[in-house]
């Protein structure tokens, strides 16, 4: 019988034992972070010491850490070890303000490689595989993070790097690549390049794609699997936590197991910062348990997700995160209800009569919040009854989703500016907002 787990004991550890391990590692992490110029004074003020940590619940005594904290303390303000112990740094590009830096000791690098190797093993990759990495090898953690992990796994690793699809094609053919690491949109683009060059992606030896670092839908995954004739697994990582290797889907493809021996997972209401009920949507908050150069406590990832309740048939006891539902910064509170644009977007996607672009406008009418939803009709139809039905059905479906009935406005195709950002998708004209 073939082995299913990279580290069976940890991956299938009973919850109670896993929590005990978390407590032990949290204590250790507090001990390390007491040395950091950032956390040291905070811990002192709050009386946080290793001895005072009794259970995982103690995590609520810690303040949240945000990206802004990382910016304000750029570059080394969150270092918990002397810089001579730091062997590498990764940095964000800082396109929206000051950059951020994440530091790694030798042990951090090894732990990270091990976690991602575990993730690779989880989706069936072995030392017999040829893993080609399409991520850039620079400050972005998708390059070196995958490289070290694949080597740790013992796979033949092809550090092809970003761009140059023709070269990727040549490597896939020449080296007999069996697995590809890429962002979902590149999986589609590269497949198109193969086709243009007379190579059917399904005829290559590639049987697995590790996809992540970009939001994508279940439909997109299915399409990728179809065009490649391969399995595609959603992989989650963020440089603040190390990089790729934080969570991955198992073969069940129903949620990503987050490696809880390395992280304490919380899902909180982005407004109140109180924990949501298990299974409800909220912001993912992570605490590192196995890092020493720069541990982070209750780091607000801004990613919206929920915990999938219940046990996974694969036998892993680590919690599963549902597919990410956008960013917590996108949240609006309308008539006291938390609403995320993605909830509306999901409904719009169900209608082939509509394009994927939309605009939400919020107004105050009297004392009430009013929501107007502009959607683009692919083609206006000269039929009042048809439009009325579409209008009614759409507003009913949206009400089912967000508990609020929007006023629907059909606008011509192409009249809503295309954008990813909240600024353009939501226009808040309300007073006191």
């Amino acid at each position: 019988m073939t082995k299913e787990f990279w580290q069976e004991e940890i991956e299938t550890m009973p919850r109670k034992q896993l929590e005990a391990l978390q407590v032990e590692r949290l204590k250790k992490t507090v001990e390390i972070a007491m040395n950091s110029p950032f956390y040291g004074p905070i811990f002192k003020e709050r009386g946080i010491t290793p001895e005072s940590i009794k259970s995982v619940e103690d995590i609520r005594r810690f303040p949240f850490t945000t990206k802004q904290d990382l910016r304000d303390n750029y570059p080394f303000g969150l270092a918990s070890v002397p810089l001579d112990k730091v062997v590498r740094l990764h940095s964000s590009s800082g396109t929206t303000g000051k950059p951020t830096v994440i530091l790694h000791t030798q042990k951090d690098i090894e732990q990270w490689a091990d976690a991602m190797a575990r993730s690779m093993y989880c989706i069936g990759l072995r030392n017999t595989d040829v893993i080609q990495n399409t991520s850039g090898y620079g400050m972005f953690t998708g390059g070196l993070g995958i490289q070290y992990a694949a080597e740790r796994l013992g796979a033949l690793t092809v550090p092809a790097g970003a761009g140059n699809s023709l070269r990727h094609l040549k490597f896939i053919q020449d080296f007999g690549t069996t697995a590809l690491h890429c962002i979902p949109s590149y999986a589609t683009r590269l497949a198109a390049v193969l086709n243009e060059n007379g190579v059917d992606p399904r005829e290559t030896k590639i049987h697995t794609l590790i996809i992540g670092a970009e939001p994508h839908s279940e439909a997109q995954r299915k399409r990728i699997e179809e065009i490649w004739g391969a399995k595609a697994y959603n992989n989650f990582g963020m440089s603040e936590m190390c990089g790729p290797g934080v969570a991955i889907e198992c073969k069940e493809q129903n949620g990503m197991h987050i490696w809880e021996d390395n992280y304490i997972v919380e899902i909180v209401d982005p407004q109140t910062l109180e924990p949501v009920k298990e299974g409800e949507l909220g912001e993912l908050v992570l605490t590192t348990l196995n890092r020493e150069a720069m541990p982070l406590f209750r780091y607000r990832t801004r990613d919206l997700t929920r915990i999938i309740p219940g046990d996974c048939p694969c036998g892993r006891s680590h919690k599963r995160l549902a597919r990410f539902q956008g960013r917590s910064d996108d949240m609006m509170i309308v008539k006291g209800v938390n609403i995320y644009p993605i909830q509306i977007e999901k409904v719009i996607m169900e209608y082939p009569e509509l394009t994927s672009d939309y605009l939400i406008t919020l107004d105050t009418i009297g004392d009430n919040d009013e929501m107007t939803l502009e959607v683009e009709l692919v083609q206006l139809v000269d039929d009042y009854a048809y439009l009325q039905n579409l209008n009614k059905e759409l507003s009913r479906r949206i009400k089912d989703e967000i508990l609020i009935t929007p006023r629907i406005k059909f606008v011509p195709k192409g009249s809503i500016p295309q954008s990813e950002g909240k600024a353009v998708r939501v226009k808040d004209n309300r007073q006191n907002h």
Binding site: Q379, L380, V381, D382, Y384, L387, N391, F410, P412
Partner: protein, 141 residues
């Protein structure tokens, strides 16, 4: 002789807000497009205004450029010598099992003749039958 016009009509999507209808007429006027007929029934949240204009393609362009949704469709114009004819035509359409989506009466052309304008579910079938019956079918615009 029956005179039947094949008319390119513009259906304009109107929001229920003050000045929405006026805005459409102003945009068309500024673009040098003349309106020879229009029909607007009572509106709830929005309405479809049907319009007969001198240059349907150009009208579409300028309205869409102003973020006003519209679509062109082919409707049938039937020249009325008297209003009693409306009943005759409707009976005839019913006998031939055509169903009418909507209809309105407007004056058209230089002679200001009255036309009954209607849209059928099966416009193509209507024109086929009209041709077979050797009606004179002309393009209006």
């Amino acid at each position: 002789m029956f005179s039947i016009k094949r008319i390119k009509q513009l259906s304009v999507f109107l929001e229920n807000k003050e000045g929405a209808t006026a805005q459409v007429f102003n945009i068309l006027k500024d673009a040098g497009i003349s309106v020879s007929g229009a029909s607007l029934s009572d509106t709830a949240d929005y309405a479809l205004m049907r319009m007969l204009v001198s240059d349907s393609q150009k009208a579409q362009q300028v309205l869409l450029a102003n973020g006003i949704n519209c679509v062109e469709s082919v409707v049938i114009g039937y020249k009325l010598d008297s209003l009693e004819e409306v009943t005759v035509v409707l009976n005839e359409l019913a006998r031939k099992k055509f169903s009418i989506n909507y209809m309105y009466i407007t004056s058209l052309g230089s002679g200001n003749a009255h036309y009954m304008v209607f849209r059928l579910s099966e416009t193509d079938k209507f024109f086929e039958q009209a041709a077979r019956a050797e009606f004179v079918v002309e393009d209006f615009n």
